[in-house]
């Protein structure tokens, strides 16, 4: 019996070992939620990375060296993400890691990357990822706090002071809900109704009716991603809730308009990135070249519309490739220093300038307030 077990175990180990045999000049690792509940974040992210590596190698690689991408699907499970991060660091011996589609998976990868001193660029939103600054961790998306600030800024401009919130109970929704509550007072605004829904819920009219009947509510904010916000938007129309309606950057893709229906989504505002309004950008906009290049390439390659999330992966890869070029080495420490020295790099999300005290490198100006008009994204001046 012992013999059988040991042979089986060894056989399995051999299979495990077979996976990391290809030799490349520069190895980049990624652990992304390409399946699971966060798949619509991870799916475009994974496709973006695969596409960019292919493009880069076709164009001769970095400083003449080919890049190999080792991509794992963590399914959005933090425990799996930690295992894959360990595998990337210990077994695949990558020079840098991109990934962590959700905050939970990011936190898992983060601790492995920091321990092993491997640079890590996260694709998740929470502010805790880069505040306080950790030496090896960077991120490309805006924080959810910034999204709240952008929304409240706009509400303040409209002269409104009382908002109702309806948030998803998933990580994205819950984290943004908390951040919004933390900053709302800075804008002289009060949250008068605070409702939630489960990401799998099919109908939110009960919660919206409660908000509708709340005394004095003047605007509606919906932090969340996935199908929830589309259903909230449809229910908003069903109940004829005639309030200024704000969605989050979590739904910034054409798919949202299609699912919610152009009719229901009319007038919805959200803080989004330049990617969604590529055609509307001024010719001298610093982001225009990066945005149009990514949009054209991704849509040609996959036949699907670009989403903000794929854009985060695009930016992470641009930053890493740029740092690799400047570092001239695939030593993790050198790459880290080069990433931190990134300045004025235009991506789809914004123009990144990192420093020893800022590992996000974006400010509020990179967020653009968008409004849906006639089923299309427009810029709010």
């Amino acid at each position: 019996m012992t013999k059988t077990l040991t042979t089986t175990a060894l056989g399995l180990l051999a299979v495990l070992g077979l996976t990391g045999t290809a030799v490349a000049d520069i190895k980049i690792g990624a652990s992304i939620a390409a399946t699971g509940p966060a798949a619509f974040l991870g799916d475009p992210e994974a496709k973006t990375l695969e596409m960019l590596v292919e493009e880069l190698n076709a164009a001769g690689g970095i400083n003449g060296e080919k890049v190999e991408l080792v991509l794992y699907d963590d399914g959005g499970d933090p425990n799996k993400a930690r295992t894959f991060a360990t595998r990337l660091v210990e077994d695949d011996e990558v020079s840098a890691i991109i990934g962590g589609s959700t905050t939970g998976t990011t936190m898992s990868i983060l601790s492995v990357a920091e321990d092993a001193e491997v640079p890590f660029i996260s694709l998740a939103g929470a502010i805790d990822i880069i505040d306080p600054v950790k030496p090896y961790t960077f991120k490309t998306p805006h924080t959810d706090r910034m999204a709240c600030q952008k929304i409240f800024e706009d509400i303040q401009k409209r002269g409104l002071t009382k908002v109702g919130m309806i948030s998803g109970t998933d990580g994205f929704g819950a984290s943004m809900q908390a951040q919004c509550k933390a900053v709302v007072a800075d804008y002289g605004i009060e949250i008068v109704a605070d409702e939630t829904y489960d990401p799998k819920d099919a109908d939110m009219t009960a919660q919206l009716t409660k908000i509708k009947n709340t005394e004095g509510v003047q605007a509606l904010v919906n932090p969340g991603f996935g199908q929830g916000p589309s259903i909230v938007t449809r229910n908003y129309k069903q109940l004829a809730l005639d309030l200024p309606f704000y969605q989050s950057h979590g739904v910034a893709s054409d798919g949202f308009i299609a699912l919610a229906g152009a009719d229901a989504a009319e007038g919805v505002r959200l803080p989004g990135t330049a990617l969604l309004v590529a055609d509307l950008l001024a010719d001298d906009d610093a982001q225009k070249p990066a945005v149009t290049a990514y949009k054209a390439a991704f849509e040609a390659k996959t036949g699907a519309a670009v989403s903000t999330f794929g854009g985060y992966a695009n930016d992470a890869f641009l930053i890493l490739a740029d740092a690799l070029r400047r570092a001239g080495s695939s030593e993790p420490a050198a790459i880290r220093d080069a990433i931190e020295a990134t300045a004025g790099l235009a991506g789809t999300t914004g123009v990144y300038t990192f420093s020893a005290t800022d590992h996000l490198g974006l400010d509020l100006t990179a967020f653009r307030m968008l409004e849906i008009k006639d089923g299309k994204w427009t810029l709010v001046e």
Binding site: D201, A202, T209, L239
Partner: protein
């Protein structure tokens, strides 16, 4: 008042979806004593196949028919390939077999279709109907009507037709049913086809409201399972009432208590009911055979 009415509408819309899923559970359970955890995948396939066929340019009714037929065929295949060979396996094994089937179907769906969220147009438009200060979508009426029609049809089938009684007889005592000349294999096949078709129908009717994606099945399965257990497994009346009750509990809790704990309310009610009625609201008493 209009507030209460709105919560009611919300509750019965969602409850009707749960009830349809629960009815699907009931049929298979009646025929084979198997709780089919892949029932939610039938709902998912109903929605996804309809979306896919519609996106290829087929008219919606045809797309829906194809989806229901294809899912029914899959139900039959499931019975032949998984349930029949596993006859007599303990409950835990059967749970794992059907969960395995569910994972397999999900994995296949994400390859055949994609991982994005989809929908298709509502059958009778999106303009809400106003009743007493509250609103309900025409599609909700479709779902509610669907649940009631399926229930009635099943009720007639099980009580008025020979075949339906054959199904019940098979469920009560398989060997005895065989002895009196019932083709129990046919009964099983029929039950799986029916159950899958009802699941797919639920997906077709609900998708314009709930939206669909390859991963939505498990959520439907859990709530439908809970509804079926609340009502008492194996009883169509129980499935209908159980499904609607869970939807109503959720909506009322979200409306009057806390939207954060509305799912908890449903499960607390189930635990409470099972505490006093271990067979659910309408379940039949069972005795151990020794």
């Amino acid at each position: 008042m209009s507030e209460l009415l709105q919560f009611l509408f919300s509750g019965i819309t969602v409850g009707a979806v749960y009830a349809l899923v629960a009815l699907g559970f009931t049929i298979i359970y009646n025929a084979s004593d198997v709780v089919n955890f892949a029932q939610g995948e039938f709902v998912m396939l109903g929605g996804m196949i309809t979306w896919f066929a519609h996106a290829q340019g087929l008219p919606l009714p045809l797309a829906a028919l194809i989806a229901i037929a294809a899912t029914a065929a899959l139900g039959v295949a499931m019975n032949k390939l998984m349930i029949e060979p596993a006859r007599g396996a303990p409950v835990v094994s059967l749970i794992i077999i059907t969960i395995g089937a569910s994972i397999f179907i999900q994995g296949a769906a994400q390859l055949v279709f994609d991982k994005q969220i989809h929908s298709f147009p509502a059958f009778s438009g999106d303009d809400p109907i106003r009743i007493g200060g509250a609103t309900i979508l025409p599609q909700s009426l479709w779902v509610i009507g669907g649940a009631l029609v399926v229930f009635l049809a099943l009720w007639l089938f099980f009580t008025r037709t020979l075949l339906g009684r054959a199904v019940l007889a098979t469920s009560n005592n398989r060997l005895a049913a065989q002895l009196v000349g019932i083709n129990t294999n046919f009964v099983m096949t029929l039950s799986f086809a029916l159950s899958a078709a009802i699941g797919a129908l639920a997906g077709v009717l609900a998708t314009p409201i709930t939206l669909t994606a390859y991963s939505v099945g498990i959520g439907f399965a859990l709530k439908g399972f809970a509804g079926a257990m609340l009502g008492g497994m194996g009883n169509p009346k129980g499935a209908l009432v159980g499904g609607f009750l869970i939807g109503l509990f959720e909506a009322m809790t979200a409306g009057y208590l806390s939207s954060q704990y509305k799912d908890a309310a449903a499960f607390i009610v189930i635990l409470a009911v099972l505490f006093f009625m271990p067979q659910g609201l309408f379940g039949r008493k069972s005795t151990d055979r020794v």
